[in-house]
Symmetry: C2
Subunit: 190 residues, 2 copies
DNA sequence: CGATTTTTTGAATCATATCAACGTACGTGG
DNA sequence: CCACGTACGTTGATATGATTCAAAAAATCG
């Protein structure tokens, strides 16, 4: 399990075997079942999650009681409520497993120790967040520049395997429209 | 000019006077006039911009030839096309000054040297990007969970001074609706 | 001041949501 | 392994929020 994280880190920065062992010792493996919650609104988010296998979702409850999916995390993605994690304030989000998922968990305090011991990790996460931010801005571009139908086709072309893995109502929520609209769009051509 | 950047960095990580001098030596001050372009679609983005005074906008051209604003940068914000900057591929965006603006510019190669010489900068940018990513996800939440009218009021309450500084058609673009809609919304109450 | 840029206003149109009803699949316990 | 219940997906009719377009009014700039 840890080897997958170590391999991912080594794509970006060099770390020794000893450092890899330190990282492993500061992370806990965790198996979560489909629909199992990891964070609820009002809680302070104290954990940084790395998905080794499976899917997590970060979502919010809207005024009208519906769930709005803000982000997914799949294999080799990090997820947390970074606002709550950073400032140690109550979260406005939920984190939940979409399917049976294997995670590595790093507590905030452990992460801080790791940064102090292994400075390359600052570099690693700098790159991870830089890319996540860039991807998030691209997503905003798609949201504003494409119609909802185009958005669906674009996402479907970019991540066809992922689209197969998740329920349609979750995909609809993530893309910012209703399940009915997705159903009708799929009925048109494919 | 550099002192403002140094002060900002020191809010997050400690750096010595010598290190501050190295940072200053690797950055160029630049004054840009309103509407002056800093990046055009098709160019590779090789510069990281830090706004000390003024406003920049990152925008894309849509299929229909209109400008879609993806991000603003104001005092003490960093801006670049991080996708293009990171991978050294042609950008799909434009960067332009919204008003007369004072910038610090760091070339990609200079930034890499700085990271090698001053590891705390990795930590600084890790924090900067983590917050930018968190803010971007919050923005996606607002886009999906609020109506366009609510979005305007929310943004107007959160950043009233900024709203005064930029033309309404730019605010409308940033918030994802038309200038006409914004005009009609403002006519309602405030 | 005149010229350009930005904002306003109104009417017609369009994309997408909503609601309700029905169909299908799925997984859980008997 | 089947049957039942719940969760998920589809469909059509109607409603609505926001866009589009065009034109006029206001603000800003050289």
């Amino acid at each position: 399990m840890h080897t997958q994280l170590i391999a991912h880190i080594r794509k970006f920065v060099p770390i020794s075997e000893e450092e890899a062992a330190v990282i492993a010792s500061c992370t806990q493996v965790r198996q979560v079942k489909k629909k199992q919650p990891l964070l609820k609104e009002g809680q302070v988010c104290t954990t940084h999650y790395f998905v080794t296998k499976g899917v997590l979702r970060l979502y919010a409850l809207t005024d009208r009681g519906t769930e709005q999916i803000i982000q997914f995390a799949i294999d080799n993605w990090w997820l947390s409520d970074y606002m709550s994690f950073d400032k140690q304030t109550p979260s406005g989000f939920y984190i939940q497993a979409v399917e049976d998922t294997t995670l590595l968990c790093i507590e905030r305090s452990a992460q801080e120790q790791l940064f102090a011991q292994i400075p390359q990790l600052e570099s690693y996460f700098r790159i991870v967040f830089q890319r996540a931010y860039a991807a998030s801005l691209m997503r905003i571009q798609y949201i504003f520049c494409l119609t909802k139908e185009e958005r669906y086709h674009h996402f479907n072309n970019a991540y066809p395997e992922f689209v197969q893995r998740i329920p349609q109502y979750m995909l609809a929520s993530f893309l910012g429209f209703t399940p009915e609209f997705l159903s009708k769009t799929r009925a048109k051509k494919g």
